[in-house]
């Protein structure tokens, strides 16, 4: 396998010369994005199935065996639907918004490592880059809400903007704890910092457990998922920021939401659950562990949605500002003090 790759690399270099680097990078980007898109498609199916099962239903099972072709059918349907641009809307921004929603959530994947060294761009400031990219995702929602020229969309955009900005702070502080513990902002180094003789006990999950909870819950809030899906709020603002969208433009918002979910799941497993490291010392490490952890966190996302009722907006803000941010700040100080003592063994 590796030899085949080597020969491919060499022939490519000889054939294309200086143009080889961008071509090879594009190939790598496709190798990341295509599985993500497939993952997104099947995450929608998994969501419908899991929530269905928790509600004593069986979920989609008509298109293909066990409903396995359902995401493809949905995609085809959305693809052929007409995109209606509302009158009085700002056309350019209306079209730009779904792109702005999807692009950052895909761009963030550039620094996510899949196993040791298997990463598109081994950026030293990887953690910061991720934070910056996830913070850009809110523009898609804001622009969509404003450009639609609809009050529901606008209310959704305003809600979402305030929500995402609030939870980003807690998320950032949680990550500060991680980078203090690992003393690196490179995601690969963060995972390698969690390696040790005791398997699971070496993960940052243990010393940073409160941060793990904060990060996971803020992640749910950042991706506008239930129980924090105030931006959509079907019962009060119809569908929030994307009421006016149809067809492929709507599908892009959908893709962005699920791509963000997968991204958050990856980041949580990389930063707190030891990424591709095996939980027990006698088993070998590998990306299969990473995928397992990611699937578990995605299951948690779906599980939350099936279990919890939606937050009220003021409670959401209270949780973000008055609970999470104080907890994270306190834990930053605790970890900083802890690291100065010999009791810090991670």
């Amino acid at each position: 396998m590796m030899e085949l790759l080597q020969t491919l690399l060499q022939t490519g270099q000889e054939l294309l010369g200086p143009a080889w680097l961008p071509v090879w990078t594009l190939v790598k980007i496709m190798a990341i994005i295509v599985p993500i898109m497939v993952g997104v498609a099947y995450l929608t199916l998994a969501e419908r199935k899991v929530i269905g099962y928790m509600q004593i239903r069986i979920g989609p099972n008509r298109v293909g065996y066990f409903g396995l072709l359902q995401p493809i059918a949905d995609g085809v349907k959305l693809f052929f639907k007409e995109i209606i641009v509302p009158s009085g809307s700002s056309k350019f921004l209306f079209v730009l918004a779904p792109i702005m929603a999807l692009a950052p959530s895909l761009a963030a994947w550039a620094v996510v490592p899949f196993t040791d060294g298997m990463v598109l761009s081994n950026l030293n400031a990887g953690l910061l880059y991720i934070l910056a990219m996830t913070s850009l995702g809110v523009y898609g929602i804001i622009i969509a809400g404003w450009a639609s020229n609809s009050k529901y969309a606008f209310l959704g955009a305003v809600r979402s903007a305030a929500q995402i900005v609030s939870y980003e702070i807690a998320m950032g502080f949680a990550l500060v704890c991680v980078l203090m513990a690992s003393q690196s902002m490179n995601l690969g180094d963060i995972v390698n910092g969690q390696q040790g003789r005791f398997g699971m006990l070496n993960w940052y999950l243990l010393p940073l457990f409160p941060m793990f909870l904060v990060y996971l819950i803020s992640g749910v809030a950042e991706t506008n998922r239930a129980p924090f899906d105030m931006a959509e709020g079907e019962s009060e603002i119809v569908a929030g920021f994307h009421v006016e969208y149809s067809g492929m433009a709507f599908a892009l918002f959908f893709l962005a939401e699920y791509a963000n979910m997968i991204l958050i799941a990856f980041l949580t497993s990389i930063m707190f659950l030891g990424g591709w490291l095996s939980p027990v010392p006698f088993l070998p490490n590998g990306s299969i562990w990473l995928l397992g952890k990611v699937s578990f966190i995605l299951l948690l996302f779906l599980w939350f949605r099936a279990t919890f009722p939606r937050y009220r907006y003021d409670q959401l803000m209270r949780l973000g500002w008055k609970v999470f941010i104080p907890i994270t700040i306190v834990w930053v100080v605790v970890v900083a003090a802890w690291m100065q003592t010999p009791l810090w063994v991670w």
């Binding site: 700002s90 921004l93 950026l123 030293n124 400031a125 910061l128 880059y129 934070l131 910056a132 913070s135 850009l136 809110v138 523009y139 804001i142 622009i143 404003w146 606008f154 955009a157 305003v158 903007a161 305030a162 995402i164 900005v165 980003e168 902002m185 209270r318 008055k322």
Partner: protein, 210 residues
């Protein structure tokens, strides 16, 4: 012209166009979005300068948080453009003088040999961490200015919160800790009762009630 120069000119041109559109755009929301674009292209230029920490922080802080709040406010405002443009010609000379002055100052400061002097950008190895270097400088050479700036910001923040958080006496509000502390047993009493009997059979109890 190598690749880096091309990228620099693309980013620089984008930044200049976006910045000029910020002032010329008729719609304030468009202006704010152009400011976002200007920030992003400046972040690109900074990355070319190997200042990746500053570039990413610019995107994270200004684009990701500050501009979102800006947009938030601007979208809510009902701005009357005609009214806004009324004094344009009257104040133009004053504004022009101010702008000229600022441009002159900037050229004077940036053009002096102390700051740039047309030096080449120093290239570093791939494992060189701009962030680490910046952190070291901030907490050694520039620790006092840094801490003073931090304290000033903290004071400003405390003052802003103190000024706005006046609690009105007549306003009703929820006491969240109390609400959270409530348990089921505090509010709910489960009463065990035998199922209600048919009217004929409960003659004796009916008599007592009378």
């Amino acid at each position: 012209m190598n690749f880096e120069t091309v990228v620099f000119y693309v980013f620089a041109a984008l930044a200049v166009i976006a910045a000029s559109r910020v002032v010329t755009a008729r719609n304030p929301v468009h202006a704010a979005l152009f400011l976002v674009l200007a920030f992003c292209s400046m972040a690109g230029v900074w990355i070319l300068l190997e200042a990746e920490f500053l570039a990413i922080t610019l995107v994270l802080v200004y684009v990701g948080a500050v501009m979102v709040l800006f947009l938030f406010v601007v979208m809510m405002l009902d701005i009357n453009l005609v009214q806004l443009r009324e004094g344009f010609w009257r104040w133009l000379p004053f504004g022009a003088v101010l702008a000229g002055l600022m441009a002159f100052e900037m050229i004077w400061v940036l053009g002096s040999s102390k700051i740039s002097g047309g030096k080449e950008v120093i290239k570093h190895a791939a494992d060189y961490s701009n962030t680490k270097e910046l952190g070291r400088l901030i907490y050694t050479d520039y620790v006092y200015p840094f801490e003073i700036a931090a304290v000033i910001l903290l004071v400003a923040m405390v003052a802003a919160i103190a000024l706005t958080s006046r609690r009105r006496k007549d306003a009703k509000s929820q006491v969240v800790p109390e609400q959270v502390a409530v348990r089921k047993a505090d509010r709910l009493r489960v009463v065990k009762m035998s199922a209600e009997k048919h009217a004929q059979k409960s003659d004796s109890t009916a008599g007592v009630a009378q």
